[in-house]
Symmetry: C2
Subunit: 515 residues, 2 copies
């Protein structure tokens, strides 16, 4: 089974809510997480072979749109059949698979704090915040458009919460900042507020270029960034069977500079693919592999991630449905396919349709988190804070989800079996009918042996009544404030900070009026 946790470092000071009480992150150090259990697999070998075969036929016989001249040229030069007018490409399976085979099965993303660098591949599991939410909500101010201030608050919270490995650069959309310069403002906050691994946006060549050049400023230059990647970015296929020019521009830039694209077909079965799950998965597979292959045409051997985001539409409302059994199966099968091709896999961890951080929010979240973790997804996006089909980043949901991730990480530690933990002497000493509360064995270990929750209430009913009959969301609100109080800005060279600011100012003035 081996030791699943390769590193344990408590980086937060203890902050005590009241004398003697533990801080929320006590006993929950930042750790690199590995899933020591065998991956959960939903497909038999024969089923996997049939889905693989169907995907190969899609790529060979039906083909895929690449709406970008450079991408078409790359395919043409590599010998694929290209229809220039329709911007359409057919790829032989041998060609496709030999390209996919060039992608590394494992790589490391460096963090500003080197102790927080992360491995992608194998049984490594890394958890990221929600990304892309246009709205922000908390119990105090309600649901409102995302702002730069809310973005900064959430990055701080993500920095403090040890079970979060990755801060999504698109965490929430600051709608108070014009679109053309939004990525600059967000990335400036990102790089000066958190020292964890982060994701970037790959929305076209220019945005990608800005992310890459800002990374170069803080990570010791473009060469250093190219040699050792520092960020990842989602590149969606416009399913069915199409990559648009904006996403291809980002994909090409990321590949060229050696940063991993997370190639993720955006499939709601019944709308962007046939309604049957097998077809949705086969189509996802063909799109993901085609995108991955393109990164290897640009830059053979560059890191890349196979992304799965397939779920279904709700056939009553037409809305995307999240935390569904179909989505769970798609997550598991995607991981199994990525493993088959030897490429790291991206899943999603906290998907739901709930409007509030209520029971629905949590059971749907778990229906996406469990399959993602158990299928060995290497990067799990949207693991904390997601509400309302991704429209909302919720402060309270974020804290509730962080508790869920901390619980998971503890569970993935497995069972320690040794003479000491089997404690036969202690069992003999207490004997039948006694109790173990005061034994030496217990007293030595009771403070750290069990997970200590910070959102869950374990008081008795009367005490809970006296304490105000809070639900989990109400408690999470208070805990968010405690955690934000623990925030400390990570060190950053003042010269580097100044250079970043100057870059952003220059680009802002270049971009002024382009929106």
């Amino acid at each position: 089974m081996g030791e699943p946790i390769v590193s344990q470092r408590s980086t937060n000071r203890r902050t005590r809510q009241r004398p003697g009480a533990a801080g929320p992150m006590d006993g929950k150090p930042f750790r690199l997480v590995r899933n020591p259990f065998r991956p959960l697999e939903a497909l038999s070998g024969e089923q996997l072979a049939r889905i693989h075969e169907a995907s190969m036929r899609i790529v060979e016989e039906i083909g895929i749109d690449f709406l970008d001249a450079e991408a078409l040229q790359l395919w043409h030069d590599a010998g694929a059949r290209v229809d220039w007018k329709c911007q359409h490409v057919w790829i032989d399976r041998e060609h496709l698979l030999s390209l996919v085979g060039k992608a590394p099965s494992e790589f490391t993303l460096r963090a500003l704090n080197p102790e927080r660098s992360l491995v992608f591949g194998g049984n490594a599991v890394n958890f990221a915040t929600v990304g892309g939410a246009p709205f922000y909500s908390d119990l105090e101010t309600g649901r409102r458009p995302g702002s730069l201030a809310a973005f900064e608050k959430m990055v701080k919270l993500a920095q403090v919460c040890n079970p979060i490995h990755i801060v999504e650069g698109l965490l929430l959309e600051p709608q108070d900042i014009p679109v053309p310069i939004r990525h600059l403002e967000k990335n400036l906050i990102q790089l000066t507020t958190s020292d964890k691994v982060y994701t970037a946006a790959a929305h076209g060549r220019d945005v990608a270029s800005d992310y890459i050049h800002m990374a170069a400023i803080v990570f010791g230059g473009l060469d250093s960034v190219q040699r050792q990647p520092v960020m990842a970015a989602v590149v969606n296929a416009n399913s069915p069977l199409r990559f648009d020019g904006r996403m291809l521009g980002g994909l090409i830039m990321f590949a060229r500079y050696g940063q991993p694209a997370i190639v993720t077909p955006f499939i709601l079965a019944g709308a962007m693919s046939p309604v049957t799950l097998a077809a949705a998965i086969a189509q996802q597979n063909s799109e993901a592999l085609a995108g991955i292959a393109l990164t290897q045409l640009v830059n053979p051997g560059c890191p890349v991630i196979y992304g799965g985001f397939t779920t279904n539409i709700d056939m009553q409302t037409g809305s995307p449905a999240f935390g569904t059994p179909e989505g769970a199966l798609a997550l598991m099968t995607g991981a199994q396919l990525a493993r088959y091709y030897g490429v790291p896999y991206r899943g999603s961890g906290g998907l739901n349709n709930a409007k509030l951080p209520d029971a629905q929010a949590s059971y749907e979240t778990q229906m996406s988190l469990w399959p993602a973790v158990m299928a060995h997804a290497n990067i799990i996006l949207h693991s904390a804070g997601w509400l309302e089909a991704g429209l909302v980043c919720s402060l309270e949901k974020f804290v509730i989800d962080v508790e869920g991730l901390a619980v998971f990480q503890r569970m993935l530690g497995g069972v320690e079996v040794s003479d000491e933990t089997l404690a036969l002497e202690s069992i003999a000493e207490v004997g039948p009918g006694g109790h173990h509360l005061g034994t030496a064995h217990t007293l030595e270990r009771y403070r750290s042996e069990f997970y200590l929750p910070f959102v869950s209430d374990r008081q008795n009913y009367d005490k809970w009544l006296q304490d105000g009959q809070t639900d989990a969301a109400r408690r999470a609100h208070g805990i968010a404030n405690v955690l934000l109080g623990e925030y400390e800005r990570p060190p950053l060279d003042p010269g580097v900070r100044e250079e970043l600011r100057a870059y952003v100012e220059r680009r802002k003035s270049e971009l002024a009026g382009t929106g």
Copy 2:
């Protein structure tokens, strides 16, 4: 992988909430569930061997209390070393394992409705209601002591909800009925209100005898019941290392009459066992195997179930802690051990410490449900309705949990991979950039292809606002009433019903004044 669902029968009439709307149980037939995926296992082979070895040493060298003269006599007659004064028994491992080896690895429990009979063993997964709650709560009447009326209401709800396989006879405690006759009143309601498999109480010889004789009335006589078992009952060890006289009386009666005891050590690590999980599991294993072995001394080959209920105490409040990472690991390892010994396994599915059906209730529930299902627990008790460390049976939590079980059961159906579901023609026909909403392939399947939720809200925000901004608990309350409106009493021969009533009346008068 094979076909996981061996039977699908929709037994509820469609009840429409509004014209065109689906009833909550539409598309969620009563089905025998099998988990087609490989079991999730937390122990390596070497770890399992060490825990096995430790348990054998506990039984051989430390020994176990059996506080019952008949049990001691059985052990003595079988050649075990008995200390009559201390009521203590030491059992050689060869002896213990040969007894455990006589227990069947799989058996069937008959239901009054033969289509609802259930298999226990292998990868069969059966879900049971909450059991043993002293309090009942709903959003209308609040939290109050359990009553016979509330018990009957919950049995009706369990009968209607197809994802529930088993109605726990101890569902909630009707505190308005005196203890000595409570089991009679409950069992009378049980047998005349539901036709599903049920659990009974094994609290001493007399209570067990009443359950067995009442079963004989409805299942065609004592011989018939003995030949083919019809109910199971939890028999707890009074951990550490003790079975009390009341539980042993029940265990012996159940074994004698061929009904499966669910031998379940009640361990809160840190109190009833050492604080370390390995010790808790080893001790659980020694107690469970000793109880299982005793059933085989009474009646070799009789069905029996290995029960796991190990979790930890909360070291801050001293309360039992549920839905914990430690409890999840204990659940998984228990299943792995039971599989090793070839005995069906009981887990728990909805454990939590929450006071309300809120986010905490749901994420803790899932932290117990996922490991139970994925570890191949064959019977999952407390799968619906449990709140507040088991003190409360909640109407709304019950409905929310039933949705969770329905989702799980759908997911365990796996992915159907065939030419039809791969739908390459449809993918080719729609082509890049199109959509699949109106294709023939979609139109043929969209009504039934995806799981249709009844608690989860997937409307957009504005529609949800207009509809009263409900949370999941509020919606569950309304759905409970819809479901109760669908209830139909299952057929029962009037003569049988009369005989049951007469039995209960006779026993009530015999027991009058004994409490």
